[in-house]
């Protein structure tokens, strides 16, 4: 069977810097893959290549066996690939409810439901009810991260690429997000690529992790396997995980 | 269509033949010694006003034909007209003047539609000595510098204002509002009106200036309405003029209060297109009306012009003709084409042009120096869509030149 998400020899150069250098990886349907590596390793760049923010200099991305070459961000989104941003991208002057509703914009063209019910359900699930009519720019960092996740999850997609969804968030919201990920994964067999520096969460979520260092795929395996490799300890973890 | 193209072809052929003949003449045979060259500097291409230039040229050409048909001047010497295109540009006008004087040896250089061209050419003329005659350029500077060589046969602003005053006196108006654009033209006329009214006495004047880029002139017109004037003088040029007419109608200033327009814009066909209903009843300054009496030579010219161009001559053409007529009379009186003698004769003699009032170019004060103009008319549209040639002549004001 085709992998749900596959990258084949991706290269991306920014000036003199090779931000991704021949990155190939493949994620099976229903898998939650961890993507770890030191700052500047090229993780966000890879995410940007996958989601069409940047076009690769060489190589290609396939979603469910279908090449994404030449497709714009919005087309890739419509193929069922949802991403979240390391720096949250919300519609600051719009309310929490309106932010959630934008997730249905693309669906409406296909004549599907207008999402009012799902939106309210998601507001209840995330306990954002009291803030439903508050402008997104007035939320705290953690609330924003939660809202961003909620926007991604309110419409079930087949593939999620999440760039540091847990950074700077309190443990309660972290758990809420983890629950949402596991729930969607279980119910829809959705595929995930999760970038994070939090090994405890990676261990809870991911069977397999990919380690990136200096633009390359440095290692791949279970977290415990890769955490034992001397080059990963030296280049990223600093010390072995307990 | 075919027919027209065919005849165009023929006339082009003639034109070509003519040009070649002229070339042969110019290069092979020198112009006949007794011919007298007359220059004509007019705009015949953009950015000048080619229509304005063309009308003057038609009049001047017919004038030369008339003079030559009558046996020329100084006992048989013929006029030869050299036409130069100023393009409305001072530098082109100056070059044209130089060429006419040094190459074509002309006796006089009339023409000049654009004031800037006339002003620039006069600076050179002041050195080269051959007189100029501005036919449709109104800037004060053209004559107020009191150059020996500078003559003019066009209405200067004080004359225009004297015509206003004549009109105000005739109608017995006591309160007059002026809505004036903040340009040299608008403010110049408004201030001159205030000065002349003060001198005459008995008239209260309101001056309401406006920026000519403003499209909503309602605030200005409301002030005027509140002043309750007997007459509104519309001193806008182009589009503001039309906006004032429409907006004054809306707030009820028109048609109850008479309006006088400061120049002859309403003779253009566009006027009735823009004001089919509210254009009637207005008064406007004009420089010519077929209803005003002409001199005998003016009448003859007018007939010849209609025959040739199948339309009535307008001011520009009449003034083009008039210049040639005046020059011919002056050369005969001076018995010479020498510049100094000619200037002397123009300054002292009395000549005849197309209107009924006699032509003189006295060494008068201010802008009246070497300046004669046809009577200024105030025409009145008495009904909608009226042909300007039918408009009632409300005032015919022959300028009284103040003596020094």
């Amino acid at each position: 069977m085709e992998p749900a998400l596959e990258t084949i020899g991706l290269f991306k150069r920014f000036g003199g810097l090779l931000a991704t250098n021949d990155v190939s990886l493949s994620v099976e349907r229903g898998e939650i893959r961890g993507l770890i590596g030191p700052n500047g390793a090229g993780k966000t760049t890879l995410v940007n290549l996958v989601t069409g923010v940047h076009a690769p200099d060489a190589g290609e991305v396939k979603l469910g066996g279908q090449s994404l070459r030449g497709r714009g961000m919005h087309e890739i989104a419509r193929l069922g690939l949802v991403r979240s941003f390391q720096v949250t991208r919300l519609f600051g002057n719009m309310t929490v409810r309106e932010n959630l509703m934008t997730s249905f914009l693309a669906r409406r063209d296909k004549g599907e439901s207008d999402g009012a019910g799902q939106t309210e359900g998601m507001i209840a699930l995330t306990k954002l009810g009291p803030l439903a009519d508050t402008q997104a720019k007035k939320l705290s960092g953690g609330q924003r991260a939660l809202l961003q996740m909620a926007c991604g999850f309110v419409v079930p997609a087949n593939c999620y690429v999440l760039d540091e969804p847990f950074a700077g968030i309190n443990p309660v919201i972290k758990d809420a997000i983890i629950d949402m990920i596991l729930d969607v994964n279980r119910r829809h067999r959705a595929t995930f690529l999760v970038v994070s520096h939090e090994m405890a969460i990676i261990r809870r979520l991911c069977q397999q992790v990919t380690v990136m260092m200096e633009g390359r795929v440095a290692a791949q395996g279970t977290l415990d396997e890769v955490a034992r490799l001397p080059e990963v300890i030296a280049g990223y973890l600093g010390k072995a995980l307990e | 269509m075919r027919g027209r193209r065919f005849s165009t072809g023929i006339s082009l052929g003639f034109l070509l033949a003519g040009t070649i003949a002229a070339g042969v003449l110019a290069s092979g045979l020198p112009a006949q010694a007794q011919d007298i060259g007359i220059g004509l500097v007019v705009p015949l291409s953009p950015p000048g006003d080619p229509v304005g230039g063309q009308l003057i040229r038609r009049g001047a050409e017919l004038g030369v034909e008339t003079v030559n048909a009558a046996g020329g001047v100084l006992g048989g010497r013929k006029f030869k007209l050299y036409v130069e295109d100023s393009q409305g540009k001072p530098e082109a006008g100056v070059a044209a003047y130089r060429r006419l004087v040094s190459e074509n040896k002309v006796a006089v250089v009339p023409g000049f539609f654009h004031s800037s061209v006339a002003i620039a050419a006069n600076e050179v003329a002041n050195e080269m000595g051959v007189p100029t005659m501005a036919l449709q350029a109104s800037a004060a500077e053209i004559t107020s510098k009191h150059y020996e060589v500078a003559f003019r046969t066009h209405v200067v602003d004080p004359v225009r204002v004297s015509a206003f005053m004549e009109f105000i006196k005739q109608k017995g108006f006591k309160r007059v509002s002026m809505i004036a654009e903040t340009t040299d033209y608008g403010i110049g006329i408004a201030d001159e009106t205030i000065a002349q009214a003060k001198k005459a006495g008995g008239v209260e004047i309101q001056k309401v200036p406006f920026d000519r880029t403003v499209t909503d002139l309602t605030p200005q017109l409301l002030q005027i309405k509140a002043f309750k004037p007997d007459l509104v003088i519309n001193i806008g040029v182009g589009q503001p003029l039309d906006l004032i007419i429409d907006q004054a109608t809306t707030i009820g200033l028109l048609p109850t209060t008479p309006m006088l327009i400061s120049y002859d814009a309403p003779v253009r066909p566009q006027y009735w297109k823009l004001h089919p209903k509210n254009g009637a009843g207005l008064y406007f300054i004009a420089y010519f009306s077929p209803k005003a009496p002409l001199s005998d030579i003016g009448t003859a010219f007018s007939k010849a012009y209609v025959e040739k161009y199948k339309e009535d001559p307008v001011y520009g053409a009449l003034n083009g003709f008039g210049a040639i007529a005046i020059i011919a009379q002056a050369i005969n009186a001076a018995k010479s084409t020498d510049s100094k003698a000619l200037i002397k004769t123009l300054e002292t003699g009395t000549f005849k042009s197309w209107p009924s009032n006699p032509v003189t170019f006295p060494r008068a004060s201010g802008v009246y120096w070497h300046n004669w103009s046809a009577p200024v008319l105030i025409l009145h549209y008495t009904k909608p869509m009226e042909d300007w040639k039918e408009a009632e002549v409300a005032v015919q004001y022959a300028p009284v030149v103040p003596k020094d």
Binding site: A77, G92 | P219, Q220, T250
Partner: protein, 297 residues
């Protein structure tokens, strides 16, 4: 000179014209908020709207059907806007955003010159008027041209419709989201190029609508969009770039200040009063009365 009647009349006249200026400002602000570019050729779309209105009324429909000509003219400008976005602006927006503003400025300025020369070439430098059969209407003590009242009512209706569509429709949601984050809206599966095209079309159609409405009042000639554009930009600065209520309120404010200044200070400086207000706002509140300080990246 200082009569109550004159004050009331001047105020009415200022409010009426202010709303029409606001229409123009709204077009500028709307295009900016979606596309993050200033369309310097806005006045030329106003001009096209006025010529279309003239052509329709004078040559095709007659003055009694002016109300039919208005939406047709605005739609014509909308269609032309789509073509301009597709042919001239879309290629710019494929480039990375850094130089986009500069390219957009150059392209729209070139368009301004082109359209003006085209208008002069096709119809000459003279002014035209589509004429109007509407009677003069008394608003309190103020007689107003029927065409001007009609323009005012149409403009208010257009502003209300625009606001409702933006506020309560799905497409409005997409437009508002795009104005907040162009990247964000793409991850929601929206084609920003498509949104741009509609936004540019709608923005210039607002200018075209103003042109069509004001054609019988302020005449039709190649540079007639100039002054309305200047007012539009002034309003945008006063009200705050990107704010719709700001455009309406600042429009009325500008209309009032200009009318009152012209009537009671000095009529020669009518254009200066609005400009003074602009300077004052820039000093006191650089983002305008309703402008937002920043936006989500």
């Amino acid at each position: 000179m200082f009569s109550t009647e004159l004050v009331v009349q001047t105020v009415i006249s200022g409010v009426m014209i202010g709303v029409l200026y606001a229409l123009m400002a709204l077009g500028i602000t709307f295009i900016y908020s979606i596309m993050r570019m200033i369309n310097w050729a806005m006045g030329e779309f106003y001009m096209i709207g006025s010529y279309l209105q003239y052509a329709l009324v004078a040559l095709l429909l007659g003055p009694d059907l002016w109300w039919l000509a208005i939406p047709i003219s605005a739609a014509g400008v909308f269609a032309f806007g789509l073509v301009v976005q597709w042919s001239l602006l879309k290629p710019i927006f494929r480039k990375p955003p850094e130089a986009r503003d500069d390219y957009a400025t150059v392209v729209t300025l070139a368009l301004l010159l082109l359209l003006r020369s085209l208008a002069t070439g096709l119809a000459g430098p003279n002014q035209f008027s589509p004429g109007s059969n509407l009677p003069v209407v008394m608003v309190g003590p103020m007689p107003l041209a029927g065409a001007r009242v009609a323009a005012f009512v149409f403009a208010l209706a257009a502003l209300a419709l625009f606001y409702c569509l933006l506020r309560y429709s799905w497409y409005g949601l997409a437009l508002r989201a795009t104005s907040q984050s162009r990247i964000g809206v793409q991850t929601a599966g929206i084609d920003v190029q498509g949104v741009d095209r509609i936004a540019f079309g709608v923005g210039v159609a607002l200018a075209g609508l103003a042109g069509a409405l004001l054609a019988p009042v302020f005449l039709v000639y190649p540079t007639n969009g100039l002054i309305t554009t200047v007012k539009g930009f002034e309003i945008v600065v006063i009200g705050g770039l990107g704010s719709i209520p700001g455009a309406l309120i600042a429009g009325v404010l500008l209309g009032l200040i200009e009318s009152l200044g012209a009537a009671f200070i000095d009529s020669a400086y009518q254009n200066i009063y609005g400009f003074a207000l602009v300077l004052l706002i820039l000093v006191l509140r650089p983002t305008g009365l309703f402008g937002e300080r920043g936006r989500e990246a």
